[in-house]
Amino acid sequence: MRSRRRELGIALLIVAGITALSALLGLMGELAIPLTASKRLLKELVEELAYNPDNPYSAFAPAYVSAVVWDFRGLDTLYETIVFIAATIFALNLYHEYLGEAELSRHRLSVILQSTAKIQIVMATAVSASLVARGHITPGGGFQGGALLAAVVIAATTIYSLKSLVGRFIKHELILCLLGLATLLLLIASSKWAIVGFFTRAPGYILQNQAKPGSLHGFLFWDGEHWVSGSILVYDLIEYIVIACGLIVLLLVVIIGGYRERVI
């Protein structure tokens, strides 16, 4: 009890210190970490090349972050996604018996919560799909959508019990299949123009989304307002699957591990 009070006292002291120091700096007209007002050439270059209907070599992604992630430094994101898939498969192989566990918690929340959760789960899943579908034109994308979907699944395991979902709907074979499918899609999507170029004897590059000097391959679609790059939509979908699977595996391993420690 005394240590709890001591911890609370330290936390309050830290909050009070932060507020007092911030107010003092604000009154003096200073910033603890100054903001830069200098001209940012890289930012201007990104804005110029991410979406410019007059430039045929533009990335055609109105959400500049999507253009940077899946076009300008797409190769980096490709490697990063593969690292994430590898980490998830590593965790899944080490703990796959957790997802087939016979003795899982049967505790479920009240009937009222279970009924309202049905509506919320459908709505949250729709929002996550919308984040992915509009990731290339609005803030959001595969990562945010995948994180939301994983949160929905984990919330569902808490509301309807681990036993009713894990092993029946959430199987390690299913997650492995989804990750395999995502990897295959990623490889096809990232190397499509290089493969086409190889067979047609025309230049084509790995992770080429739009036309490049010397190679005019590219896939655009009209979304009602703009011509938008189609490849970025596919990459967002892949990231959605990968992040959702990864987070579900991570959280389930931790939750079931904790449950085993207490009960089994």
């Binding site: 700096l25 903001l35 007002a37 990063e80 703009h226 991570l250």
Partner: protein
């Protein structure tokens, strides 16, 4: 004035968060606390990067189709880097969490000091046996 105080609260909180996270990583022997501290550190550094991308003259989201045209949004480059950093931090957390779980299964503890004592004890037993 209010904007300055709000920005200062964010900035000072980030500095304090980094200090607490480094303390947790270096000083706390429990692997679980180290993972939590690492999470705090990576999230704070991500927030710091987003903060650096903010400019008072262009506080809009980095989008083309927002009615204000190009050049008025915050820096999209740092936001893209942060996205990468979050994914890598997540992969790293998956790795550390699984290692810690395995450590608990084998040694029945996540305390590094206790594990070190166990290792020293097992070495002494081996030496005695020899």
């Amino acid at each position: 004035m209010n904007t300055l105080i709000a920005l200062n609260i964010i900035a000072v909180s980030m500095i304090v968060n980094i200090a607490i996270a480094v303390y947790g990583i270096v000083k706390k022997p429990s692997m679980v606390k180290k993972i939590i501290s690492l999470g705090i550190l990576s999230d704070t550094v991500c927030l710091l990067a987003v903060y650096m991308g903010f400019t008072a003259t262009s506080p809009h989201p980095p989008l083309y189709a927002s009615g204000y045209g190009a050049g008025r949004g915050v820096d999209p480059v740092v936001q893209a880097f942060v996205l990468t950093a979050i994914v890598i931090a997540l992969a790293f957390t998956v790795f550390l969490a699984t290692i810690t779980l395995r450590m608990y299964e084998v040694a029945n503890s996540t305390d590094l000091h206790e594990l070190l004592k166990l290792e020293i004890a097992s070495e002494e037993i081996e030496q005695l046996e020899e």
